[in-house]
């Protein structure tokens, strides 16, 4: 058990180190996220009430798009340099490695999104309830994005072009987007958001248990 935990953290650390070393790959999706958010006020004009209504939705859509970009790199270099083969053939379960890689992806791509969203929310002076709903939905939602995205990234590994990945992933993200938007709308008008949060938490638990298994199987299939 200790050896398994040890390997888990070794791989999380490795992936974070690699993300940090490869700064362009790591920061590009985040810059893309910021730019998409900034484009909307320009497109909508400077009506503050309209912007306040739309900010949370814009942040969420931008988060989905940015995650598509960052997911492209999750297995790509490991596939190209033969690391995935070594993970599959190691004495430790592939599931362990896959879980570690997804966690590392969430730490390097998901958490910065939440932090940037927080700052954007403050800048656009969202109400406290809306901010709370935005943060909670992002906190529950971004791990789901990493988990579901990993399956698709594993399936499209070795196929050139990130476009296919986005086309496959975005429809799968719709349920998360719907529940998050409902929560934010309810919070804006001062209603309870418990139901939507429970739904998101439910999806998260489901993704947490099933997505790594699907990802491992997809990796094995792609390598055979």
């Amino acid at each position: 058990m200790r050896a398994y935990l040890n390997i888990f953290f070794v791989i999380v650390r490795r992936d974070l180190l690699l993300a940090f070393r490869n700064k362009a790959e790591w920061t590009n999706p985040l810059l893309f996220f910021i730019i998409v958010i900034m484009l909307f006020p320009l497109a909508f004009g400077s009506d503050p009430t309209l912007l306040k209504q739309l900010t949370a939705s814009i942040i969420w859509v931008a988060a989905l798009l940015s995650t598509c970009l960052s997911l492209e790199t999750i297995f790509r270099t490991d596939f190209e340099d033969g690391s995935i083969e070594q993970f599959i053939l190691s004495r430790y379960p592939l599931l362990l490695t896959v879980n570690a890689k997804i966690l590392a992806h969430w730490i390097s791509a998901g958490i910065p999104l939440i932090l940037i969203a927080l700052v954007t929310g403050f800048v656009l002076s969202l109400s406290n309830q809306t901010m709370f709903a935005l943060c909670t939905t992002l906190l529950l939602g971004t791990p789901i994005l990493s988990l579901i995205g990993a399956i698709t990234a594993a399936l499209t590994i070795g196929l050139r072009g990130g476009m296919l990945l986005s086309l496959l992933i975005l429809p799968l993200y719709i349920p998360v987007l719907i529940f998050s938007m409902l929560a934010i709308q309810n919070a804006t008008v001062g209603q309870s958001i418990t139901a939507e949060i429970y739904f998101l938490a439910g999806i998260l638990v489901l993704a947490l248990t099933l997505a790594p298994i699907a990802t491992s199987v997809a990796l094995r299939i792609r390598l055979s």
Partner: protein, 207 residues
């Protein structure tokens, strides 16, 4: 005593029969070379042997048990080095070796400087792998073999991109592993200078 055996193995890729009815068996101390022209299925055979791909027909056994049924037990007994070295360009040599060591599950501590010296890349601990030449990378990929407690080694073109000196090191390593009761299967089309060791041969293709 361990036995690795392959029974009636067949592989068809892109409607072409690569090999059919292949049988062989390895016991402790056995050394097997797979040779054949390019595209004759050497790498495919090795990938079948480790379970990365499934055969159309035929079974592979580790100690009389199908490797599909005892996957992790089998995998803790093998060390596979494929065409790709399985090392990260953005990590330093030392970080790569630490990583290999963790994944190998070997309980023994690893002595980096002496391993690096043995494979002829001494003093490169802090160098990023992307700064090294192809041959040096291959050597670092092969450093896995110094750390693994695995009994069966499967090496795909281990001598590729290696110079004469590197080739000798790996040959010696292979012979030494077999002499201490290990088993090695490797694919290569060069002749080897391991004349003093009995070598089994599998020839793929029609030449």
């Amino acid at each position: 005593m361990s036995i690795f055996s392959v029974k009636n193995l067949e592989c068809i890729r892109r409607d072409k029969v690569l090999f059919q009815g292949l049988d062989f068996m390895l016991e402790d101390g056995d050394l097997l070379q797979i040779d054949g022209i390019n595209g004759s299925g050497k790498s495919t055979l090795l990938q079948l042997c480790v379970g990365l791909i499934r055969a159309t027909t035929g079974t592979i056994f580790w100690n009389a048990e199908n490797i599909i049924d005892c996957r992790y037990q089998f995998q803790s007994n093998i060390s596979y080095i494929g065409h790709a070295d399985g090392i990260k360009a953005d990590l330093t040599v030392q970080e790569n070796i630490t990583l290999m060591h963790s994944l190998s599950g070997s309980p023994a501590a690893v002595d980096y400087p002496s391993i690096l010296k043995l494979i002829g890349v001494a003093g490169t601990e802090k160098v990023f792998v992307k700064r090294l030449s192809a041959g040096q990378r291959r050597r670092i990929g092969l450093a896995r073999l110094f750390m693994t407690p695995a009994k069966l080694w499967l090496l795909d073109e281990p001598f590729n991109t290696l110079d004469k000196y590197g080739k000798t090191i790996i040959e010696q390593l292979i012979v030494q592993h077999c002499a201490t009761g290990g088993m090695v299967i490797f694919a290569a089309h060069q002749l080897l200078e391991m004349a003093d060791y009995t070598l089994q041969h599998i020839h793929l293709g029609h030449h």
